[in-house]
């Protein structure tokens, strides 16, 4: 037994190290960013139910299905041997004070909330999936990962693995599908089942309405579906995958848009030949776009603010927006010798190259991308 525990410890540490490596990404192929969050069968099923479509291809369906089959026969084997977040929370085990901070076990309620809300089209609380949570460590400066992971890590010093045993919806799912336990577990948690159904149903109905139309709509990554804010589990794989660093965590906004990824063109633009974010999304919130499809996708439309524009307002030779536009979507209006920009909305993809490059400074930038939802596809070829 001691030997097995030693082996288990080594295996878990290796997997944790590998997982951290995937999350941080670096020189690895971009799809590896997706590996950890896409491993969760809970994410796969809840999202597929909510979106009424099996969005993952065969390649990305097999690993989570294998995890599911493993659970049917071996229950929480995944938790004990593989889950990197579990390993992290297990580290303080030996030093743990073994006090009860959270006496109430809530994992079944969380699980059933996710399932029932998903049936109604909105996978509420799926943000608590442990593998999405683990992936967020790569974006630890955002407040959800900055708060959640350290909190439960610290709590593990008081109550060993409090997350895994008392809250984790994925772990509960494993308990439930284990064919030796199904009946017993379900019967044990009848009340939580009902609570979950109630909360999930209410959440799916109430959440989408909260705070709608209050803030300016965010520009979303190319391939984002209309249900982006609802179906995104905030795993931030797209943030790590974006080579321009323009996908950022939204600050403010309504409750259902809380901490969702959005595009910000201060540091760059959405590159013409890049579809990396659409390759890594494990939830189908961003659909995979081919290079050609990405090139034709309009995620927003730029607008010139003439009062701030160096050409329109200050009679300067500028046209930097035109210079940087990869799609030739800036057209020229001549006022004497001065070229002034206007946006051809049929060609503009909303990539933000103009907004990023605009040198106007007197009254701030003079060209901005406005979100286009749902995203459109323009005609034409590469």
């Amino acid at each position: 037994m001691a030997k097995l525990n030693g082996l288990k410890f080594v295996v878990r540490l290796l997997i944790l190290a590998a997982a951290l490596f995937f999350v941080i990404g670096g020189p690895l192929p971009v799809w590896m960013e997706r590996l950890i969050p896409a491993l969760s069968p809970l994410t796969l099923f809840a999202e597929s139910i909510a979106q009424r479509s099996w969005y993952a291809g065969l390649f990305w369906s097999l690993p989570p299905l294998a995890v599911l089959v493993l659970a049917v026969f071996k229950g929480r084997f995944f938790c004990q041997w593989i889950c990197p977040l579990g390993t992290l929370y297990n580290l303080p085990q030996k030093m743990s004070l073994k006090k009860k901070v959270l006496p109430l076990r809530l994992n079944a309620a969380v699980f059933w909330t996710i399932i029932s809300a998903s049936i109604l089209g909105l996978p509420a609380l799926l943000v608590l999936d442990p593998l999405s949570t683990f992936n967020r460590i790569g974006t630890w400066t955002a407040w959800i990962p900055g708060l959640l992971v350290p909190l439960f890590f610290l709590l593990s010093f008081f109550q060993p693995q409090v997350w895994c045993t008392h809250l984790c919806p994925l772990g509960y799912g494993f308990d439930l599908v284990n064919f030796k336990n199904t009946k017993r577990v379900f019967r044990r948690d009848r009340r939580q089942f009902l609570t979950g159904l109630g909360i999930g149903g209410a959440a799916a109905v109430i959440l989408p309405g909260i705070g709608k139309n209050k803030t300016t709509p965010s520009v979303l990554p190319p391939g984002a579906t209309e249900q982006f804010s609802e179906t995104c589990t905030r795993c931030y794989a797209c943030l790590s995958a974006c080579p321009s660093g323009i996908i950022q965590v939204k600050k403010g906004g309504s409750l259902n848009e809380l901490a969702m990824p959005e595009l910000c063109f201060d540091g760059g633009a959405c590159e013409e030949s890049c579809n990396r974010c659409s390759q890594v999304c494990p939830t189908g919130a961003i659909r995979r776009l081919s290079d050609g499809k990405k090139w034709r996708t309009q995620i927003g439309v730029a607008k010139v603010k003439k009062g701030k524009c160096l050409a329109w307002a200050d009679n300067e030779y500028c046209m930097v927006c035109d210079e940087y536009c990869p799609y030739n979507a800036i057209e020229t209006i001549w006022r004497g010798d001065i070229a002034c920009p206007v946006v051809n909305t049929d060609l503009c993809r909303g990539c933000g190259a103009c907004e990023n490059a605009c040198p106007a400074f007197r009254a701030g930038k003079a060209i901005f991308v406005h979100s286009l939802q749902p995203q459109q596809t323009i005609k034409g070829t590469v």
Partner: protein
């Protein structure tokens, strides 16, 4: 109004006649110092560049003790060589081959508009640089890449942060592609320096054409080599453009202003009347803008 005394009148009169008498001599002296510009024309890019490099070395090369050459190509855009938004890689290939064979070390610093990883590779220039083991330096990500310099002759642009590599090199070669440009009308040699500085964004707000001219008073290359093999006449500087011309020329000069004027003639009848920074260069005397004062050697390859 001060009245002119007779003595002064005689004095000025004598001086003026002396000057008038000396004029033919002065004109003759100017003729001797006509600016040399070589225009190579031919269908084969590599042969063109080979001929260009031969002329370059026959006329002093990079200077007697040059060890390090900083080459300013245009590698700003994620565009293919056929789209002609960047200097053609075949020309750079031959340049590097001949330059390195002459015993100098070459570096290629560039402050690209697109991410360097994309623009350097799509332009084909990274591959060419790798082939000759030459470093392409992405000035955007390189640390401590820029040094602030004063531009004593600048009117609007009096200081700028310039890539260290260009300041420390023994010889600087300006090797842009000639193409259409929204704000500048054309971008050739003088405007190419915007890819060697840090604060180019401000140039537009300060007055683009004056800043381009001002910076050219400071940064004068040993050689200007213009890639005019294939040029965009609209939708520059990035393209893609359907309006391409194929002059199949390389223009070589020690005077970047003269090279700009000769290259601009491929696009416009009267460059100084069309492109403000050339008119400013003429007025400030930065370089030769009058083709009558140039020795243009037409060489067919």
């Amino acid at each position: 109004m001060k009245k002119l005394s007779r003595r002064e009148f005689v004095k000025t009169g004598a001086l003026s006649s002396a000057a008038l008498a000396a004029l033919p001599h002065l004109a003759h002296a100017e003729e001797k110092q006509k600016t040399d510009v070589w225009v190579f024309t031919g269908s084969n890019n590599r042969a063109l560049m080979t001929a260009c490099m031969e002329t370059l070395f026959n006329h002093g090369g990079f200077g007697p003790n040059a060890k390090k050459v900083a080459l300013k190509v245009n590698a700003a855009w994620e565009r293919t060589p056929e789209q002609a938004a960047n200097t053609h890689p075949e020309l750079v290939d031959v340049f590097l081959e001949k330059a390195i064979a002459s015993g100098v070390k070459v570096v290629i610093p560039e402050n690209p508009c697109h991410r360097a990883e994309k623009s350097f590779s799509a332009s084909g220039l990274q591959a060419v640089a790798d082939k000759h083991k030459v470093k392409m330096i992405d000035l955007k990500s390189a640390k401590n890449a820029f040094v602030e310099v004063k531009i004593p002759n600048g009117k609007t642009l009096t200081k700028e942060k310039v890539a260290r590599e260009f300041l420390e090199a023994d010889a600087v070669v300006n090797m842009p592609v000639a193409k259409h440009h929204g704000g500048g009308k054309l971008t050739i040699c003088m405007k190419n320096w915007m890819g060697a500085v840090e604060g180019r964004k401000l140039w537009h707000a300060k007055g683009l054409h004056q800043c381009i001219a001002d910076f050219s008073t400071f940064m004068k290359p040993t050689w200007a080599i213009v890639d005019a093999t294939c040029c965009m006449t609209t939708k520059g500087p990035q393209g893609p453009s359907e309006d391409m011309i194929y002059p199949q020329q390389i223009i070589l000069s020690r005077d970047q202003v003269a090279a700009d004027v000769v290259a601009a003639l491929l696009f416009h009848e009267d460059p100084c009347a069309t492109i403000n920074y050339l008119a400013i260069a003429r007025d400030m005397g930065i370089g030769e803008t009058d083709v009558r004062n140039m020795n243009i050697h037409h060489i067919t390859v």
